[in-house]
């Protein structure tokens, strides 16, 4: 009888094959996850309806560039309304909505679909997962914070009659554009990731990201009108739109208009930089902590 029991435990060969190839390890899993997440941010590999919103938002963020290039092409005088130093003013809301659309997709989807154990059962470590996702989100955000400005920079150069002269006059703008674009992308990526990773529900994190990114700027505006003083200084440093604007203006060595919230606060712009770094560090840490502690 014992033999029978043993016989009953046999496995049918249904033709499943073992994987005999080279195992590429942790590094490759990391890179694949990064690439896959970046594609996912734009809905590539998903159905068409998932692509519409990210693509529309990226186009919306490019609209100021197109407008400026159109003006430059038509106008006989050198009319520069939209410049690298103030580009963020035109795209900040768009950027926030992009974050609200993409961060839940990257950080909540795996929790919702319960696919996290599949990742963590591989060579990939939990922190690797978080880094890959954060990097993918930040890279996706560069399509809004950096790409349109690079196009604008090149377009401005080509629109003028004197390309060499333009390059000579404006070469400093290029590193400024790149550095500010990267800082803003990482800053917003970390904030949205910290929020987006907390709940598997897409709708909740979308709403929370909007509340933190957009509604706080309403708070800043009202505080600027009513209270002012030290309260406004602190609020401005904590409100993502204001702090990011401060850092950008500081990098470009530009001033802020008196009537803006930043202008009313009378804050030295350089202080925005450590503030942004601190918030980035804290939110990144919150994201790492979430995935370290998550029971999968």
């Amino acid at each position: 009888m014992s033999q029978r029991a043993e016989a009953a435990g046999s496995i049918y060969d249904l033709g499943y094959r073992h994987y005999d190839g080279v195992r590429l390890g942790r590094r490759q899993s990391f890179l694949s996850l990064y690439a896959y997440s970046l594609r996912g941010a734009f809905g590539l590999g998903r159905r068409t309806t998932s692509k519409v919103i990210p693509v529309a938002v990226v186009l919306l963020a490019a609209a100021p560039t197109l407008a400026q290039l159109a003006i430059a092409a038509i106008s006989p005088v050198d009319a520069r309304i939209i410049e690298p130093a103030n580009y963020f003013d035109f795209v900040q809301v768009t950027l926030a909505i992009f974050c609200a659309a993409v961060a839940p997709e990257l950080f909540a989807r795996d929790q919702r679909m319960r696919t996290l154990p599949l990742y963590f059962a591989r060579g990939l470590r939990r922190d690797d997962y978080t880094i890959a996702k954060l990097a993918a989100l930040a890279t996706a955000l560069l399509f809004i914070t950096l790409l349109p400005q690079l196009v604008l920079f090149i377009g401005n150069g080509l629109a003028g009659s004197d390309l060499a002269g333009y390059a000579k006059d404006h070469w400093m703008e290029l590193p400024q554009v790149v550095v500010s674009g990267v800082i803003v992308a990482v800053f917003f990526a970390c904030i949205s990731a910290a929020i987006g990773s907390q709940t598997p529900r897409r709708a909740y994190s979308t709403v929370a990201i909007i509340a933190v990114l957009i509604l706080t700027s309403v708070v800043a505006a009202v505080i600027a009108d009513t209270v002012g003083g030290v309260t406004l200084k602190i609020v401005v440093l904590l409100v993502p739109f204001e702090a990011a604007t401060g850092v950008i203006r500081w990098i470009f060595n530009a001033s802020v208009a008196r009537e803006t919230n930043l202008g009313k606060s009378g804050l030295d712009l350089w202080i925005c930089f450590p503030a942004v770094l601190t918030v980035t560090a804290i939110t990144a840490w919150l994201t790492f902590r979430r995935f370290r502690r998550l029971d999968v």
Binding site: Q3, R4, A7, A8, S10, Y12, L14
Partner: protein
Amino acid sequence: MTALSAPEQNIPTPGPAAGATVRVEDVSKWYGNVVAVNSVTFEIGPGITGLLGPNGAGKSTLLHMLAGFLASSSGSVQILGQTAFGNPELYRHVGLVPEREAVYGFLTGWQFVLMTAKLHGLPDPEGATQRAIARVEMAHAQDRPTGGYSKGMKQRIKVAAAIVHEPGVLLLDEPFNGADPRQRLQMMDMLRQMAAGGCTVVFSSHILEEVERLAENVLVVVNGRLAASGDFRTIRRLMTDRPHTFTIRSADNRRLAAALMGSPAVDGVELYSDSLSVRASDFASFTLAVAGVAQQADVTLYELLPADESLESVFSYLVNR
């Protein structure tokens, strides 16, 4: 495990000829370039019908069309003589058990079924709820939130909600997923009772044994096409009237091989180091004969396995026939 004996415990119910309740005529459904269901035609009457097919064959699509949750791209789907899609009044006579596990987690089992009864506008919702819950044997858990139910319990409370208005047509998408063997038997019993009461029960499954044990009428769907339909036994014979290969291990493989070659049910035998591979011309006659042959030859059988009995091979046989 060996699937050799088919328990014949079907309660006799009227066949499909006795007035069709579900009529599907030349129905296709496509999404862009992908064809999910490809010109399918069938009629179903009261009794239990199994919708059998591998995963992704189009069973769910078909069932959703029957339930009025998908419009067919072409052809007509009629339930009780009425168009299924966009016809809420039809749900007075149709019950649906969806495949997804989702329930309103904050409602208790009782509240969930009661809500369904009220939405149906039943005259005595409490009484109907009580009867439906008793039928699926969930009274013990009816006051707990459904969010905390196990898979099998969720399945049963979903069934209770689907039968609370005693529908004439009951549609179930993969109803045995997540049910343990006892729950499975109990659910099968309940469906048989409903069928005996004149209900048209249609359920989908990718597991041959489930369909075999429950359905007298079967629709086999492969790649969006109807591969076979009709009386289960006929289909079964069509499925089994083909050369079969079995792997046998016994106390004395060589002696058994010699004995088997004498049996008319056997076409050929190959002898391996520790097993026999037997080609039989007919499934049923071979499985009936093999034990007797072994006994006469005084060989103890250790193991008898159909070598190609996976569902996929049956389907591919049916499709390529």
